[in-house]
């Protein structure tokens, strides 16, 4: 799906074709879901957040100037939602139990890909997600946009409105910081 195809769907949606919106959701739902899931770490919160993001996108489409930039615009919208939800949850002590030493998340890595292995991988994912969720906002967002969403440096720079060089330097710092947070699990 190219930017051109997305722009066509956005145009169709502007003209009242509701199906175009469903297609846009199908294109972006996995990416936005992964972003929210890792940002707030809780599955139910992420689901509600993802739905709110798309609802806001639908209702705010009039603010989008360039149809071809729908993806970047959606990410900006998603990150704003994530930040607000994260702050609210943090005030309520939602993240106070984030710890890599959590006895409820025993980490045992094995080599074979059995059902047990898949279960263990889910535990590993939970620990990685917890570690990312606890990072400072800017570093977390750069890490998510680059390593989870696989966006280019230019796209990240435009979405977060920060210089390209800053994106690169902060990305390396974020990766090193996450490595240190996960060291106990990785070794």
């Amino acid at each position: 799906m190219t930017e051109h195809d997305v722009a066509g769907l956005v145009r169709a949606l502007r003209q009242g074709e509701e199906q175009a919106f469903n297609q846009l959701v199908r294109i972006y739902q996995a990416r936005i879901w992964n972003l929210t899931r890792t940002y707030v770490k809780d599955e139910e919160e992420a689901k509600d957040l993802t739905q709110d993001i798309f609802v806001t996108a639908y209702r705010s489409l009039g603010h989008l100037r360039d149809d071809a930039k729908f993806g970047a615009w959606l990410y900006q919208l998603a990150l704003n939602h994530c930040r607000n939800r994260y702050k609210r949850l943090k005030r309520r002590g939602f993240f106070s139990n984030l710890s890599l030493d959590d006895p409820d998340n025993p980490i045992q890595l094995s080599q074979d890909d059995t059902p047990e292995r898949q279960l263990e991988r889910r535990d590993v994912n939970a620990v990685v997600r917890n570690a990312i969720a606890a990072m400072p906002p800017t570093e977390k967002e750069i890490l998510l946009l680059r390593d989870l969403q696989e966006l280019s440096y230019e796209e990240i720079s435009a979405i977060l409105d920060i210089p390209l060089g800053t994106v690169k330097s902060k990305l390396n710092r974020a990766r090193l910081a996450l490595k240190d947070r996960l060291k106990k699990m990785l070794e």
């Binding site: 469903n22 959701v25 199908r26 739902q29 996995a30 879901w33 992964n34 899931r37 890792t38 599955e43 689901k47 993802t50 739905q51 709110d52 798309f54 609802v55 639908y58 209702r59 607000n84 702050k87 609210r88 005030r91 309520r92 991988r121 590993v124 994912n125 990685v128 997600r129 990312i132 890490l143 390593d147 989870l148 696989e150 690169k168 990305l171 390396n172 990766r175 090193l176 996450l178 490595k179 996960l182 060291k183 990785l186 070794e187």
Partner: protein, 254 residues
């Protein structure tokens, strides 16, 4: 160790193949020679692999139906809920305790260090129902007409050190006179004494005097062409408070 930090700062450019050939060679030589950095590089790579694993998680199947349901919900409720979600009134126990302590300390401070201000309460407010000029018919004094709730004037005798010494005086007639210059109070005092009306309290902001109801026209003469507003009390009957032998008149200049 500083050299190791410099090399680790190049891990990402190394992955992105953005290093020059010489820098790339230096980093690779260092990783081959330094067990600490070699281990950090291994952990760095593993970390990226774990982040990549998160990409494969699929969203819940009911995501789109949930979006459709929210879209068809009345927009008002969505807005109301979003508005409420922006305001989070929850606070930690320590913050709540601190707020209460600060409020109590502030209250104590005001009680101990600041003189009480005579704030008129409901009982000290009077309803003015006069429509007849009280002092001199035909003069330029402006009387208050219709039902108009105003705080009853309170005249403080002085600024004593303790609240117990405050004296609140309820005059029978209260007149606010527009003052153009600070000397107006002296000119008004002179105008009164010329008519044998002698104020017993004179301050930079006003004066008080007692006079017989029959002398009210003299008071009107003393005020002359000054712009003034009269606030009589409800107990003062239209046509003049003639049932009293002496009236307490307070004149404030502002």
């Amino acid at each position: 160790m500083k050299e190791c930090d410099e090399h680790q700062a190049r891990f990402t450019p190394y992955l992105d193949q953005e290093l020059t050939a010489s820098d790339r060679q230096r980093l690779e030589d260092h990783l081959a020679a330094c067990p600490h950095c070699a281990r950090e590089w291994r952990l760095f790579s593993l970390t990226l692999g774990h982040i990549a694993n998160l990409r494969h998680e699929q969203p819940p199947s009911d995501l789109l139906p949930g979006i459709q349901a929210k879209l068809h919900r009345p927009a008002f409720w969505i807005r109301l809920r979003d508005l409420a979600s922006r305001f989070d009134f929850s606070m930690s126990l320590s913050a709540a305790t601190a707020t209460v302590v600060v409020a109590m300390a502030a209250g104590l401070f005001f009680k101990m260090h600041l003189a009480p201000v005579g704030v008129p309460d409901q009982a000290t407010q009077q309803v003015i129902r006069h429509t007849t000029p009280l002092i001199i018919p035909g003069s330029r004094l402006t009387t208050v007409t219709n039902d108009f709730r105003v705080p009853l004037p309170q005249v403080m005798a002085a600024h004593p050190p303790s609240a117990a010494d405050w004296e609140v005086v309820h005059p029978d007639v209260f007149i606010t006179v527009r003052a153009e210059t600070p000397q107006d109070i002296l000119l008004l005092q002179q105008a009164l004494t010329d008519r044998h009306l002698f104020p017993h309290v004179v301050s930079p902001h006003g004066l008080m005097l007692r006079l017989h109801p029959d002398d009210l026209p003299l008071l009107g003469e003393a005020l002359g062409n000054r712009q003034a507003v009269v606030f009589p009390q409800e107990t003062v009957p239209p046509g003049g408070p003639r049932h009293k032998k002496l009236l307490l008149v307070a004149i404030r200049l502002q």
